[in-house]
Amino acid sequence: MTADAPIIAIENLVTEFRTGGGWHPAVRDVSFAVQRNETLAIVGESGCGKSVTALSIMGLVPPANGRVASGHIRFAGRDLVGLDEEEMRKLRGDRISMIFQEPMTSLNPVLTVGFQIAEALHYHRDMGRREADASALELFDQVKIPSARQRFADYPHQFSGGMRQRVMIAMALACRPELLLADEPTTALDVTIQAQVLSLLAELKAAYGMAMIFITHNLGVVASIADRVAVMYAGEIVETAPVNELFARPTHPYTELLLRSIPRVDRDTVGLSAIAGQVPSIGAMPSGCRFAPRCPLREEICTRRDPLLVKLSDPGDHQVRCWLRAPSSEAGHG
């Protein structure tokens, strides 16, 4: 494998859920790739499919009412779609890890934090107890938990939210994964703690050379951690670009409105601008462009045909899904 082959490449992923009688896609035709030592941020409102994308990669879509309907998830050259549970389990926590949003509830209250970190090493690396404990102590230091030795045998309720999130990070990174999925890892934390956790993640990512997919709805967080950004709306990627390019030239109307709805202290504005309307529900997707009902620029073609994700001419890595801002030469599948 060459150095710049992506560690993970997702192609035309469709993940569906059963609601009412039928299967409806929560993620539709999503494609992206992430290199080693690169951070892709997936941004969008609640329910836009960003978490479902992460669960699809982890193979954790609840089988009772969800499924990856089509597409490919290529991890280190291997397609994870259709991989059996046993194989998938070996990858999870070892080569692909995930950090969750809620540090307060994501640790087992009856097990010590030291045990919970050492467990991953014991399980995936077959380490003995002593060896796993020693490695876990090192991880405590790496995630900057003070007085690691004394706190090793503490229970989660003796830790603050920020410290618990560090424990979660240590658990996820115990086996030095090649890909880390972070699902809003800082949303539940205080702003000052947020900054610490973000810089810790960036530091560890660089140290381990891992790829990171960072899911958030906070554009401020995106600016500080991401290399590239994918903006999702209603299950589709509507715009993807390098982080600076996106902030400098937001092209999709939704991205533009998102950026405009960030509260600014340096400008004298009256009130906050919000985006009118709501994300359409999974069972009632509009035809044509999914953002059309809320879009201030809507034209006739928007509601008639699906727009495609189109490369903007000058920098090739800026793609937009919009009839008006990035008209495609050929008609979309309508």
């Binding site: 999870r92 969750f100 640790l107 209250p109 097990l111 399980y123």
Partner: protein
Amino acid sequence: MSTLALRHGSSYALQQLARAFNANATSWIGLVTFLAIVALALLAPLISPYDPLDQDILVRLEGPSAAHWFGTDSYGRDILSRLLWGARLSLVISTVSILTAMLIGGIIGILAGYIGGRFDMIVMQAMDVLLSFPSLIMGLMVVAMLGASMGNLMIAIALTAIAPFARIARAPTILVKERDYIEACRALGYSDLRIMAVHILPNIIAEILVMGSLWLATAIRIEASLSFIGLGVRPPTATWGGMIREGFENILDSASLSVFPSLAILLVVFSLNMLGDGLRDAIDPKLRGGE
């Protein structure tokens, strides 16, 4: 590693139990009384004044006296000695049968709660069928089928207690398996077996233990009842239920023969119920609230 988890987990459960104890005086009384009875039973070979099987026909059916504190039975055997030796039997039978029921019922309950769906439905319906037999009737049926012996008595009692333990294990499992930290376990690639044994069990073990202390009392009662109607351990071995039966037959000649074993049963059941109730009251809100 899983024994380590249990050590971690159960030490936490024990901390919880200790806290529950301190908050509740009745559970202390229950525990102290029960431990005293256990100690007496353990020390029976040392402290019982007579051999429980030694007959002395000259002093049969006597009331309490200096030589025989609790009196003698129809063969002139010392009631106190027989009570002490009988306690050993009652405690062994009830403890072994309840531990067995705890283990089997607990596993069934965790599996049903964790797997859910149709498996859960079928298993719990089977448990409901078991539950629909009153425990004494169930014991009667099993002993009648297998014959009266100490082993069969334990099987009978364990069978009646499996269903309640399955229920008590299932309910909190359903609650716990939806928690974020179980999802986090899946994200770390842990197997279902590991999730159940290492991550769910320590969370629910306190409830199972509390239930165990309550069922220990029930087991002692069932054992006494079956021995009373002659389906328990065969005479001349001393059992509390058997002694009450003897006393019942001679109740017009000597009351002490039925009174003292009855009091012994009452005391054990009472102490275990106080212990269990106290623990349950103290532990419930904490477990329901979660962490």
